[in-house]
Symmetry: C3
Subunit: 217 residues, 3 copies
């Protein structure tokens, strides 16, 4: 890990103890949407890797860890132990809980809510605009809400306004166009519910069932 | 916004008035396909953010704005007010009109045509090669043509040679394998036409209909 | 091409003759998974472009060429003439043969095997975890095996444990959930075999058939 000096812009950045910020990372970037960058607050023990950029007017808890070239925009509220891997983007105005993991090459649209423990696998892409490019679309932009503990498989697409319930598992390559009830397994384009997480079987024989501590709650 | 010095390589770059180029951006890069980089011309008021790379032998109009780590290759002709967000790539040999917006994590293949006002949402991926890796494929490589005002939803895939008509709307997560007539709404894998943009309803009640100034023209 | 000084960290990097490493590239990065970075060995004639990061404890043959911002993690064994384009990620623990090409915005999961001559088109995303976030998942993580000469179309998704046979062609936007026999053409979500590579026709009239030197072998 690169231990390095801090690249703070404009004096608008406050960092907790023990942060390691790579010298090519940028903190407290100003948005083109705003006249001033606003304050960026990051808790203790953050690791921000090369090429990552975090904008001002955002608050992030303890234990942040970013991959290379990740971008986190302004007006985000992010909890503790947030992990975001290489080349992923969190657009502005999102609410992100504790222990959320966003893997590589992911795009999280403006005004998305990711609750505690959510996992977005590589390539997940989130939309927030039912009619992109409509001249009224700033009035109706809203990302999906992904509830506590839900996990979204690689390269899945999640549409605006959708609610993915607690502890759901969305299969790889899915396109989620409608709400998914808590505890469901869903996949396909469009994604359809095909079972319950509590009924999944481990076909590798490692455990009685995967997610032993999670069910259809 | 980072106001910064210009990172010009080889003296082959000309910039219009009022450009802001981040110090880690690279302009006028030479392609491995060519002996010399060739000239890069960029119009007035460009904003090129950290980590972005723009190759030589490319011409871009006024009002360019790039996100972080965007890459624009050689032999591209790009109009005014081109926006390209974080981590997106424009490969070589494309023709791009005015007021085109390419969002994050997008890949635009060689020899793609994007007409005026086209919008590519995050994660859109464009192909140009009907038989990838065929030893003849350099003779038939051609990207799609996306006509004036068409909008492509998040994480959609567009196949080579396809023509997407004027003002079309392609839904999220689609795989477009055939031409789409002007003014159509299409989605799915493979994408099928399912209606007209002029007949879309705003289910948020904000307007009589989205895209009031665009129809099936 | 940027001819530049070498950015070697910790003295743990050995490079063959004639390598060109951009000054913003990072070689020999330590993984957060390990106490020490371990040795990174790269053969002759490598080109590593701006923003790329290659971790320690990895071995790469001659003729490496990376795009901008590509990331190659630790514990990878990679052959000669490996090409990886912009913004793509090779996660740890993969085995990659000779003459493999990984295009832009691709994610290759831990413990994936890519045999000689494999081509991954832009946006391909690979999974390795049947039950992401399961507390036992470290015991069953395994990426797919993509056999010699297989080519995967743009924005396709490949599931864990899947074997894609020799010389297969997977169509754009596919979701591959099951093994594909050698020499097959397959596409769709989920991907289904729909023919043989040896029976493909060149509808551009350039050749009798694409891939003249490859069949259902």
């Amino acid at each position: 890990m690169s231990k390095s000096k801090i690249s703070v812009k404009n004096g608008n950045v406050s960092l907790g103890k023990g942060c390691k910020i790579h010298r090519t990372a940028i903190l407290g970037m100003a948005s083109p949407r705003k006249k001033s960058a606003g304050r960026l607050g990051i808790g203790r023990g953050a690791i921000v890797r090369s090429g990552a950029v975090i904008y001002g007017n955002t608050t992030i808890g303890d234990g942040l860890e970013t991959g290379h070239n990740a971008v986190i925009r302004e007006e985000n509220k992010i909890g503790d132990n947030f992990n975001i891997w290489n080349n992923s983007v969190i657009d502005y105005g999102c609410t992100i809980g504790n222990n959320v993991k966003v893997h590589s090459n992911v795009y999280v649209a403006q005004y998305t809510a990711l609750e505690d423990g959510v996992f977005l696998a590589p390539g997940v892409t989130i939309a927030n605009d039912p009619h992109p490019g409509c001249s009224f679309s700033k009035k109706c932009m809203r990302g999906p809400t992904i509830k506590k503990g839900a996990r979204i498989g690689v390269n899945s697409t999640i549409l605006p306004f959708v609610v993915i319930g607690k502890n759901c598992l969305v299969g790889a390559g899915s396109v989620v166009t409608k709400n998914i009830p808590a505890g469901s397994v869903a996949y396909g384009n469009p994604a359809r519910v095909c079972g319950k997480v509590s009924e999944l079987v481990c076909d590798k024989g490692i455990t009685d069932r995967p997610y032993p501590d999670r069910g259809n709650k």
